[in-house]
Symmetry: C2
Subunit: 316 residues, 2 copies
């Protein structure tokens, strides 16, 4: 099984620095690869991180501010140069159709068709709504409307709940080999014992429920119910933390979180690991000041740098 | 007097690498600052190079391929964030009006006016034509049509010819103090000698002609007469060299120069210093292979890296 991990491409907020590129985050989730918020320079950061542009299945844009989307034309161009075999699916707030249309044409000859992608704009409310599902039923992608200065959405990737097979019970029930998979798929199995009598083994007799893992991506927003709902029970929660607590009035004014508010979001949601990013350059280049503030209210905090890779915590 | 120098922001061709950002070049020429070909990531490279976005007076785009212009929206946005006091002037091939219009809207809210700039598209022919002049008459900016797969122009910044005052002759003619400046401005001076007789000193009697310095910028093109004309007598010539000589058929097919052709361009033009850039990643990350090839035909070659600063050679 491929790892479930976040590859961080950029961690600046409005203005990039020598250390921090504009936003960009790749989530690798089994055989699914999602690019969130391709800020300017994302195609180069993909090269640096060793992520191939054609490997991206979906691009999720939270909002149409430049630091979250100006890298989209370059990523689409790079996919074309690298001969991606199928168009990427593009999610973004439906209020930003016009802005996205411009970005799909940027860098292309005037008469050419826009860069190939399947647009799937998101009509989001406060409650997370369904954006996409896996054909095999393994996950659902949800989105909810955040509270920023522009129409903005956050995302939540929710693995389907499943079961964990219990080896002792399987052995006691005499289920082995290909029968295990069949039982998982079909929910029940009819076996013929040595005495010729049939008996039924039900999945719930030999397994325990396994809660699906959750990844949540909460960018530019004030604290809000939608952020809480997206983050609920997340194994890995990525949250912007543009400001520190002493500047919470600026955070409120510009529609952002402080590091402490990001920590509070993680704590309230019962998240397992919090990734902080989208740092204002006003505090210097060391993300540790943000992590320290968030750790006052939540323990497992990583303030990421560009090209960091953060694992989704293994199942508890 | 401020230095005359080229600040290199990016040196990749179509695909950026860990070492090379997409194109971007800042020419500092006395009190004039010109940004050439803002590829993606230019706003961040400006930060790295310590060049303020509002200090840019003119942006010269050679053509509308993404690697030469996708950084334009970000540069315009950064100028706005940094509260540039006056709009930048934007030059580009006039056939690319539609592509530039898209870039001026990228990253902005749908209803907002396009990013402020004064558009001055270039209607270029093979002979370098005038694009802009300095109000004080100190320089002229010229452009000519290159031979690429898209409408493309090269640029030439030409200092006005002037004079160099000769101290010995000034002393012999009895011209000193404020009279020196007046003679330079007015071309002649009437002095009254100790004997009460008037005599005329002409500028040409106490000075020697001084040829203006020249900067030339020749991006994506096959060898052509326009490139020759732009480069003629250049003190500093920037030329793309996407390929090496063994791949000259690729260079021809895609409308590019080999390093040797760039060297031949410099030699034929009688240039003084050649800057090579826009390197294909197929040859690895070391620009020295390009410099070596060009040096077979021209001596003063610099294969630049990102953030290099190259001086315009001092007057001979």
């Amino acid at each position: 099984m491929a790892p479930r991990e976040l590859v961080v491409l950029g961690t600046a907020s409005q203005v990039p620095t020598a250390r921090r590129n504009h936003n960009g985050y790749v989530l690798r989730w089994d055989d699914l690869t999602v690019l969130f918020d391709p800020g300017e320079g994302t195609q180069r950061q993909l090269v640096r991180a060793g992520v191939s542009a054609p490997s991206i299945d979906r691009i999720c844009v939270t909002h149409a501010h430049g630091d979250h989307c100006l890298g989209l034309p370059g990523v689409l161009l790079k996919r074309s140069i690298d001969q991606a075999s199928s168009p990427v699916t593009l999610h973004y707030p439906e209020q930003s159709r016009a802005e996205i249309a411009v970005l799909r044409r940027a860098g292309l000859p005037a008469g050419a068709p826009p860069a190939p992608c399947v647009e799937a704009p998101v009509d989001a409310g406060v409650e997370p709504g369904l954006v996409a599902t896996d054909a095999a039923g393994r996950w659902r992608l949800l989105a909810a409307a955040l509270d920023h200065r522009a129409p903005a959405v956050g995302y939540r990737l929710q693995e389907s709940d499943g079961v964990r097979m219990l080896p002792d019970r399987l052995a006691a029930a005499g289920v082995e080999g290909p029968d295990v998979g069949r039982l998982q798929r079909e929910g029940r199995l009819t076996l013929t014992g040595g005495d010729g009598r049939e008996r039924v083994v039900r999945l719930e007799d030999v397994s325990a429920p396994r809660r699906g893992q959750v990844f949540a991506f909460v960018m530019d927003t004030r604290p809000c119910a939608a952020a809480d709902a997206l983050a609920e029970g997340a194994d890995l929660l990525v949250a912007e933390s543009t400001y520190l607590h002493p500047d919470s009035s600026l955070a409120e004014a510009y529609g952002h979180l402080t590091a402490r508010q990001a920590g509070e979001l993680a704590a309230k949601a019962g998240a397992r690991r919090l990734v902080l990013t989208h740092f204002s350059r006003r505090y210097g280049d060391d993300g540790e000041v943000f992590a320290r503030e968030a750790r006052e209210v939540f323990p497992d905090v990583v303030a990421v740098d560009d090209l960091d890779v953060v694992s989704v915590p293994p199942r508890a």
